[in-house]
């Protein structure tokens, strides 16, 4: 039986009087490509933040690679070594060029390889604002992969891209999942991308 890399047990999240979700139970196994879907405001991003250890649940327990969410130092170490994130708005560092944006988070040689693989070799010394949305997202993917993570968390990674570009990004993620056995958890509301997932968790 494959081990769970992420486990949410009876997890609830509330902001003052607003209940985001209650008693959520999720288990993600190593190498799975999981989609989290649901309408806007159902708590997809919050769930991903909790899975990635950058937010805490109001109630319940979260285990990331066997480490409980309350052990903040260990969770930060896990994030540094094994967990990477991709965001809808890319969040690239404006003061650094494409190559630096990736290499700051890992090895220079690996960064160059990844950027080449992602067809960005002609953009290495460009600043993020000089790139298209699709290119920026590919830089964000390179940044996420440069540390060779075991878990990749993507929050609406194609939310700002057209269908053609979204499909390319998802194909890329799918091939990474298959070839490198990376566990990928993606939040999206785009129904057209459902075929890419091994399993879908619906919220809301």
């Amino acid at each position: 039986m494959t081990e769970s890399v992420v486990e949410l047990k009876n997890v609830s999240k509330r902001y003052k009087d607003t209940v985001v979700f209650e008693n959520l139970n999720i288990s993600v196994k190593k190498g799975e490509f999981v989609g989290i879907m649901g309408p806007s405001g159902c708590g997809k991003s919050t769930t991903l933040h909790i899975i990635g250890g950058i937010d805490n649940p109001t109630e319940g327990e979260v285990y990331i690679m066997g480490v409980k969410h309350t052990d903040e130092k260990k969770i930060a170490k896990l994030r540094r070594k094994y967990i990477s994130f991709i965001f809808q708005f890319y969040y690239l560092l404006e003061d650094f060029n494409v190559l630096e944006n990736v290499a700051l988070f890992g090895d220079m040689k690996k960064s160059l390889e990844l950027l080449k693989f992602l067809r960005l070799e002609h953009r290495l010394h460009h600043k993020p604002y000089e790139l298209s949305g699709g290119e920026q997202q590919r830089v964000a993917i390179a940044r996420a992969l440069v540390r060779e993570p075991q878990i990749l968390i993507a929050d609406e990674p194609t939310g700002n891209l057209d269908y053609k570009e979204s499909k390319k990004i998802f194909s890329l993620l799918k091939s990474l999942n298959k070839e490198s056995n990376i566990t990928i958890i993606v939040a999206t509301h785009n129904e057209e991308l459902k075929p890419f997932f091994d399993r879908i968790i619906y919220l809301g």
Binding site: I54, A76, K77, R79, R80, K81, F89, Y91, L104
Partner: protein
């Protein structure tokens, strides 16, 4: 990790956007001006003290031995013989000091009569190269200011009065002798030039026959700054019959007062750096606010809080360090100009010098460096804590 933090800090520091550039420049300028201000002010004090020391050393003996025994005829020649053999001594002289008065016309003034052996200029020791005129045993040499006050020139006659002169049925009466002025003494010290008369031993002993003199040996060393150590080594040789005073003892209150004043002004000027550090704190707060999203990304990728804090602290450190270096360069440039064009004038009759040179010392540079670095670190701490305190999710959601 630290090098990466350094690289990021440099990039953020060089990322000038609108008002950040102006605030960065003002913060930088604050450090430059306060560094140069402190170094120059201390340099003026150091220069003044150094120059004063040189002037004092050139115009006063390094060590004075005052005889307090009761057998001068045997004790003093013994000590003089000992001093002759000492290699650390540049020159020395023995003389007697009588207290008397001088009169010319209606003007009369109390003076010290230094009685020495006029046979050889060398015997005048410390005074030997400060005399204009001749060593005529039948005349007197007046301190230059005294001569000017009396209106006495070479060849003019002045009256030297011995207070305890002739014995009469009514007690001792002053004894007066008219003597020609054969030279003037220019020591550079107002007290000496205003109240000293040099006379030959034989002439003085006859005139002040009933006056007990103070017998002194004045010593000038090859290295005047060794005076205290030399005085210590002299003590067992001369015994209790001499009181030993060094030039350092004689001027201690003056230099202590100057040191206290220097420290006081240093403290006040330190406040300039404190204010400059406030500017750095404000700047770093703005920079942290600007880069909150980047900070959130670093933290999402598991960078420890110390990494984020290092990025903020390094920015403060670099700005202060470069400001400090430019401040030092500016202070040296100003030192050069002030000294070349002798810009700080003072009254020579009061300060023994016509202008004050600036002398920036390594000690001052080191002190200011440590102070600037300490305050810049302190200035960076609050913004760096602010940078790691913010909630990652809140930053990302607000973006």
């Amino acid at each position: 990790m630290k090098f990466r933090a350094f690289k990021i800090a440099i990039r953020y520091l060089l990322s000038f956007k609108g008002s950040t550039f102006i605030i960065s420049f003002i913060s930088f300028l604050g450090i430059v001006i306060s560094t140069a201000g402190i170094l120059l002010t201390n340099g003026v004090f150091e220069g003044f003290q150094d120059n004063l020391r040189i002037k004092l050393l050139g115009s006063m003996p390094n060590i004075i031995l005052t005889y307090i025994g009761d057998n001068s005829k045997t004790d003093i020649p013994k000590v003089l013989k000992l001093l002759e053999k000492n290699n650390d001594i540049k020159l020395f002289s023995y003389f007697k000091i009588y207290h008397g008065a001088i009169q010319r016309g209606s003007y009369i003034s109390a003076v010290n009569i230094d009685a020495m052996d006029f046979n050889n200029k060398k015997n005048l020791g410390f005074f030997s190269d400060k005399i204009k005129g001749t060593l005529d045993k039948k005349g007197v040499i007046l301190g230059s200011d005294l001569a000017a006050m009396l209106g006495a020139s070479l060849g003019d006659y002045v009256s030297i009065i011995s207070p305890v002169g002739i014995q009469t049925p009514f007690g001792y009466m002053p004894k007066v002798q008219n003597l020609p002025v054969v030279g003037t003494l220019h020591s550079g010290i107002f007290d000496i030039d205003y109240s000293t008369v040099l006379m030959d031993n034989d002439l003085a002993d006859k005139l002040f026959v009933n006056n007990p003199p103070t017998r002194v040996v004045e010593i000038n060393l090859k290295n005047p700054f060794e005076a205290s150590a030399f005085a210590k080594s002299l003590k067992p040789m001369v015994g209790d019959k001499f009181v030993i005073t060094t030039w350092i003892d004689m001027n201690k209150p003056l230099f202590e007062a100057l040191q206290t004043e220097e420290r006081g002004i240093f403290f006040v000027l330190t406040l300039m750096i404190v204010v400059a550090s406030f500017n750095i704190t404000s700047l770093l707060f703005i920079k942290v606010k600007e880069k909150l999203r980047d900070i959130a990304i670093f933290r999402v990728y598991g960078e420890p809080k110390s990494f984020i804090m290092a990025i903020v602290l390094i920015q403060g450190f670099l700005l202060s360090f470069i400001g400090f270096l430019v401040g030092v360069a500016l202070s040296f440039a100003l030192e050069f100009f002030i000294n070349k064009f002798k810009l700080i004038h003072v009254q020579k009759s009061i300060y023994l010098m016509s202008y004050v040179p600036v002398s920036i010392s390594f000690k001052d540079i080191l002190e200011v460096f440590l102070l600037v670095m300490f305050l810049s670190m302190l200035a960076g701490f609050i913004p760096s804590f602010y940078a790691v305190r913010e909630n990652i999710v809140r930053i990302l959601r607000n973006d």
